[in-house]
Symmetry: C2
Subunit: 395 residues, 2 copies
């Protein structure tokens, strides 16, 4: 039961301001008529609130020639793309940086390998900072609303401390603070899978779904969840760590200290080794194994089969725990699902699924490997979408 | 991101009415002064709203002799115990029925074994209905606000269909509809662990916590979760099924069709068999094994040790998935935790816990085996707490 709270009229006005901005950011240009109908507010309220958003430089209004039912021209409320955020995805192999406009368009995009292949936090901070500065220097007239970063690890709510990012070798690294100090700007950091589910919910296959499980595997497995439309963070921001569920007491040993963790059964390198390949090739190497399996190579086929089986075991646990409407798969999970959905489904359905199988959709992520990057943009937009009146006025 | 919604002033008034009633129901008698301060409303608004709640027969006002800071006597808003609900807990061995007053006091309580030990749904419905009628017949002047039932199974949101209650042998049983038709009254049904976490949150060890995992084991294991203060239900109400996470590919076989499910490692009968006892003795038999282990019986001690180890494995998965502030244990999990918390903790901490161990409290349920029953009462109160103005006016 939520704590009872009194609500005042100023809060009401802010809620409505927020509702309009969120709507045009998510859906794109929207007529006043549609806003009036969908938000259940009257025309003059909508008019006053869109005027306020215009004054804040967050939207513009265009008069559409296409009339509504009344035949009158309708005012189109348009998110103003002079407002941008910088989104960053810190991967194990590379850093991706994107300039994203209010409304969600990617205006610029840069990728760079880690300097000398290193994950030393000071190097990563410097490299990311330079990429962000380059990106912003190219658009001096834009207003930067924020910087959002996706990291493959557990990130503490509040200060963005990276508690544990095993594939970067980071433990308790104050990454967010270091980057913010280096840039002289606030930075928000989130777990890549938590941001992935957000992106798929706002702009991907999970639009319109409230209960979503996003599971993405590369070397490890990340999990991000929406529960009743709300991101699952847990008490400190560490929720969603699906990779270390013990599924097999026989092993193998995991670098976490336990045995038989789920990510030791379905990670990229597990599949590659089982197929007799060298580890480390990433998604293209996985694609090669899958193609070889299809062409009849027995060892590749057995590897895909085995990993598909373990995909089913883990997804079953997640479905029974969360009863999601949709499971969105990324990385090697998506590749295996696309290649061997029958096999995954067989493992999933072999034992009791509490929810009927037909009630759960399983889909590959629409934004593919960019779900965390797009989610990082949404993380950066979030404060302005929550409090439009607090938008920074300086460019 | 929650769907943007416009908020009107009538909705605001209802939210404040709700906030007052929820506060006095949860905390008991509360002064107007405290309500004014905590809900952030002015004195005249509180006065008008409590007057409305009095008209609805939901609260009474008493003038307290103890003055506030001003020295003036303060009006004490008191939940009116003429409003009751009937709470039911359908267990595997027995049915418990309680009459609970607004404010949470248990006014009457009855337990009865299943008729002829049977779980046939028609028999259970008839037995429960008679117990409810007996309970209400004893208090003819009370106003019954609702009937809430806890069931050890997956319950569909909306119609309360029991999709799967393996320990009762129920599959897709329209239990709620049958009971409502038999009584001629609406009935709300929920999963026992989902109601258990609610009760522990409102009146137990989890008061004040927003992220709570409640894990209770008897023959099977039930899981109930609060996520950011909100009950986790999943898309259809089936979330929280923790018992069938695969933890060991070696087995044993589970009645669900899979192998090595968590509940095959920590259920009551698992512990009893490992200790060389006959299954079926329930909590007293578990207590005997624990006492024998303490007295030095090697086989009992080994059984407790082994189950404690598997408790740790499962709790670790839950902590990594949900990052709760507190894990509340019921049934055999609570018994094993009380007897062997060091052993559970050792297993829990052997491998990586994403959240620092100190950030997670582990506690036995305060309401003990009654958490689901008290939660069923809260389920029955919920519609009136949500919409006080819709309280039934007839007694």
């Amino acid at each position: 039961m939520p704590t009872p709270t009194g609500v005042g009229t100023e809060e009401l006005r802010r809620a409505n301001l927020r509702a309009i901005l969120q709507t045009v950011h998510t859906r794109g240009p929207t007529t006043r008529a549609v806003l009036t109908r969908e938000l259940g507010l009257n025309r003059s309220t909508i008019g006053a609130l869109t005027f306020e958003l215009q004054s804040l430089g967050l939207v513009t209004e265009q008069t559409s020639a296409v009339g509504g039912r009344s035949g009158r021209p309708s005012h189109l409320v348009v998110p103003c793309p002079d407002n941008v955020v910088v989104a960053v995805d810190v991967g194990v192999d590379r850093v991706a940086v994107a300039l994203v406009g209010l409304g969600g368009d990617v205006l610029d995009r840069r990728d760079r390998g880690h300097q000398r292949g290193e994950h030393d936090v000071a190097h990563v901070v410097e490299s990311v900072a330079q990429m962000i500065e380059d990106c912003l220097a190219a658009v001096p007239s834009k207003r930067c609303l924020g910087i959002g970063v996706a990291v493959p690890g557990a990130v503490r709510t509040g200060d963005g401390l990276v508690r544990f990012a095993p594939n970067l070798g980071w433990v308790e690294e104050p990454f967010t603070e270091l980057l913010a100090n280096r840039l002289g700007r606030p930075v928000s950091t989130g777990n890549d899978a938590n941001l992935g589910v957000l992106a798929e919910h706002i702009r991907g296959v999970a639009v319109g779904y409230s209960d979503v499980a996003y599971l993405s595997a590369s070397v490890g497995i990340g999990g991000g969840f929406l529960v009743g439309g709300v991101p699952l963070t847990g008490a400190r921001g560490y929720a969603g760590e699906v990779g270390h569920m013990q599924v097999d007491s026989l092993g193998p040993e995991c670098r976490c200290g336990s045995v038989g963790c789920w990510e030791m059964k379905v990670g990229e390198n597990v599949l590659l080794r089982r197929a007799g390949r060298l580890p480390g090739g990433g998604p293209p190497a996985i694609a090669e194994v899958i193609a070889s399996a299809r062409d009849g190579e027995a060892r590749a086929a057995a590897a895909v089969d085995e990993v598909a089986e373990w995909c089913g075991v883990g997804i079953r646990a997640i479905v029974n725990l969360f009863n999601p409407e949709i499971v969105v798969l990324g990385g090697v999970l998506s590749q295996v699902w696309s290649a061997a959905s029958d096999r995954v489904d067989e493992a999933l359905s072999r034992s009791t699924l509490i929810s009927p199988r037909n009630d759960v959709e399983i889909r590959s992520a629409r934004l593919e490997d960019d779900s965390p990057l797009i989610g990082a943009a949404e993380l950066a937009f979030a404060p302005v979408l929550e409090h439009p009146q607090m938008v920074p006025q300086a460019v």
